[in-house]
Amino acid sequence: MTSLIQSFTSLHKARAFISMSKERNNVTSQSMPYSAIAYKWISTVKNMLKEFEEFGQFKDVKSLINSAEKHYDEGYYYLALMESAQAKALMDYYLNRPDINNGKEAIRIAETYLNYTSTFMSEIYESNLVDAPFAEIYFELAELHIKDAKKQDRDSAKITIATLSIKESMIAKEQAIAAMFLSKTAGLSLENPQSPDQNVSNSFNQYVLAGLILLVIVVALVIVKKLRK
């Protein structure tokens, strides 16, 4: 009976998401290199697994990558991309696990991760061309779990829940990057897609470059003015 209830639940959720999908099917569209990007993310995680196999079994990462590959083969590239982004985030977490000594510190670290992720989420919220609901779910949960951790009395419970929040923030960040990357490559056919980190850093560099050019022009004008005097 439990699985039957679960089925009804999933049916209703799926229907709501389909209705959302139909609503969002009317914006200007450009072709997306879904498969190339999903493939790139899957390959990145597989390489990481190979490179760091001596550090652990990474069962959940492997399970996610298997699922991503299966979805990729079935042609569900976006789903494969989100699963591989989740797998990459977990891999990053296992390889760079923060040192946590007590509950208070755990919550502080979780808040730092959340704030960092919020900068990526802001970009999603500001864009009408990408929604990233997978990332949004994890971002909401990360924030709610911090609130939840703060309400715990026991230190161990604070640590457990805050750690969960850290993982969720990392997943949301990676999925948001993947979704933004996809939206920025609209209309391109990618033979060799750049890594997402490169892409984010390139955007930042463009802003800095524009600022520097402006500064140089203004300074040059001031110098010219002074020389003429």
Partner: protein
């Protein structure tokens, strides 16, 4: 000359403003997910403990609020099963609900097969629907989302 230089400087600063606003603004949020009013005003769900809670989260955590409402819906299905079990045999009640689920699933499948998302956001929601519908046919072995249990109403 000074006038010309000032005009040029202002013009250049004006050109740079979009870059600045794009890289720093984080307060203009676009929140596309809206829970349909029919869900929020569903009379059958009001008895559910999570119904009130869901309304508290609608604005800032819409997807989480939606999950709470869906949980209420599950509770409702359980109640319906108990009502049916009172009238019929438990097995018959189960099979009646199973038939209903099967029929709803085939409708959903038909809807999904005939719909082709063309934009990225549409593809994103469609993939979420796809992932959700996959839990109908197989037991989820991947990461299970653990929801916050002790959040109190604020």
């Amino acid at each position: 000359m000074t006038w010309k230089l000032s005009s040029l400087a202002f013009f250049l600063i004006f050109l740079y403003i979009p870059f600045l606003s794009h890289s720093t603004s984080s307060d203009v949020y676009y929140m596309p997910f809206q829970i349909e009013d029919t869900w929020l005003s569903e009379k059958n769900l009001t008895d559910c403990a999570k119904y009130e809670e869901a309304h508290l989260y609608v604005e800032n955590y819409p997807l989480y609020a939606f999950d709470l409402l869906v949980d209420c819906y599950s509770e409702n299905v359980s109640k319906r099963y108990l009502d049916l079990s009172d009238k019929f045999d438990a097995l018959v009640a189960g099979s009646m609900l199973l038939d209903e689920a099967k029929s709803e699933y085939s409708q959903l499948k038909e809807e999904m097969d005939s719909f082709h998302p063309e934009t990225l956001p549409a593809q994103e929601w469609f993939s979420l629907a796809m992932k959700t519908s996959k839990t109908l046919t197989s037991t989820s072995k991947g990461q299970r989302v653990i929801y916050p249990k002790t959040i109190l109403m604020e």
